[in-house]
């Protein structure tokens, strides 16, 4: 495998369009956390034509519900949750400029179509590597919906967060690719 590509947020369409499925990536900068309940609320805000709690343009959303940290930790464990549960909501966020999503598992054709159209990429992080991934998160603050507990919307600062491009902006996917290297 070749050297990982380093990316710093926010991402531009020029940056994401050149990424290819299989590229190893290290992300630094800001990523936002949202999972099932937060996605539902984001889309409700859009339906009501209300402003969103953060700027979607160029953003990365990480599908994660971390464990609370011990006193000396930001979080204890913070690995990805399964992405398909966000498929119903993701296309609308991608249309607003969401450039990257981090999760695990395959996406729906509707999400992949939106990614192709708007130049977004889907990154996979290693599910169940929660302890390892939590070490790459240096700061967290709650942006909205503290009542959701583990599902609250948070702004994270990450350093060299390891992911792989699982589906690129051309729609090429590693899932179902059974070819062995």
């Amino acid at each position: 495998m070749s050297e990982p590509i380093k990316l710093t947020t926010p991402l531009t369409e020029d940056q994401t369009r050149v990424l290819r499925a299989g590229d190893q990536i290290r992300i630094s900068g800001v990523v936002y956390t949202a999972r099932d309940a937060a996605h539902k609320r984001l889309v409700e805000l859009l339906d009501q034509k209300q402003p969103l709690p953060f700027d979607m343009d160029g953003a990365i959303i990480y599908y994660v519900g971390p464990t609370p940290g011990a006193p000396d930790q930001v979080f204890g464990a913070a690995g990805p949750t399964t992405s398909y549960r966000m498929d119903a909501y993701a296309p609308r966020l991608i249309a607003l400029g969401l450039r990257g999503m981090i999760g695990k598992g395959n996406r729906s054709p509707e999400v992949v179509d939106a990614m192709k159209q708007h130049g977004a990429v889907y990154f996979a992080a290693t599910g169940g590597a929660g302890a390892l991934l939590a070490k790459c998160i240096v700061k967290s603050e709650t942006v909205a919906w503290d009542d959701l507990g583990a599902e609250a919307l948070r702004r994270l600062e990450v350093v060299n967060f390891p992911v792989v491009v699982a589906i690129d902006a051309e729609g090429t996917s590693l899932y179902g690719n059974q070819a062995m290297e």
Partner: protein, 280 residues
Amino acid sequence: MRELSVATIATHLEILINQASFNLGERELCALREAQARESSASGRAILSELLQNADIARLEGRPLCQDTGVALVFLDIGQDVHIVGGDLQPAIYRAVRNAYQDNYLRKSMVEHPLARKNTGDNNPPIIHIRIVPGEQVRMRFAAKGGGCENMSRIGMLTPSAGREGVMDFIVRTVCEAGGNPCPPVVVGVGLGGNFEKSAMLAKEALMRPLGDHAEREDDAEMERELLARINAEGHGPMGLGGTTTALAVHVISHPCHIASLPVAVNIDCHSHRHAEVIL
């Protein structure tokens, strides 16, 4: 009649929850190491090595292995010569779950109603399975069961004509269609026979068997070997991103069933196969 206090049971449950959440078992570690040595895909090997590193970090730094610290699953096999004293058993178990999830900074993942979806705040209630067995001991087992892999589980009410091939196809299809969602490499628990609910219970019980041990019946053990080979030949690999390690083990438990039925339940667990047990 031997007396055993609910406080003793609760204290030990707290210890089991702590053990399972931070320490991957020796068999699981061995299975991951062996898989890493055999895995044909470079990216698959990289993922397996991340999982081994993750287990080290969890143990050494006191971080949960995975952020989904699960539904608390408690199995109690209570000897019929044991008298449980010192209060009611169920509230004691609930207290232990609350304390362990709070004190160890584990994630609280339970909602009080499937549709209203308000978090209960303390990971209660656990799911408790109690059996009465001979003897004067209590065997308590704990598992932290993640939601991602549980969601990929299935029951098929097949008909007898489906036969062994039909059963095997159903199991392989269930694991393969799950793709990367349940965090492969997975452990596959199969309950074969019984009826609708019994098959599901057997599949869960199969997951509790020490990793890689085979079924007692030789025909079931043979099916386990064939299923593992077939699943891994499909090429989904670690995290579904390609490779030869999609499952670490397949555990089958069979049971008599009705002349008209052929139930088969497939319960999937992820590589973060967290369980612990104690005999009291």
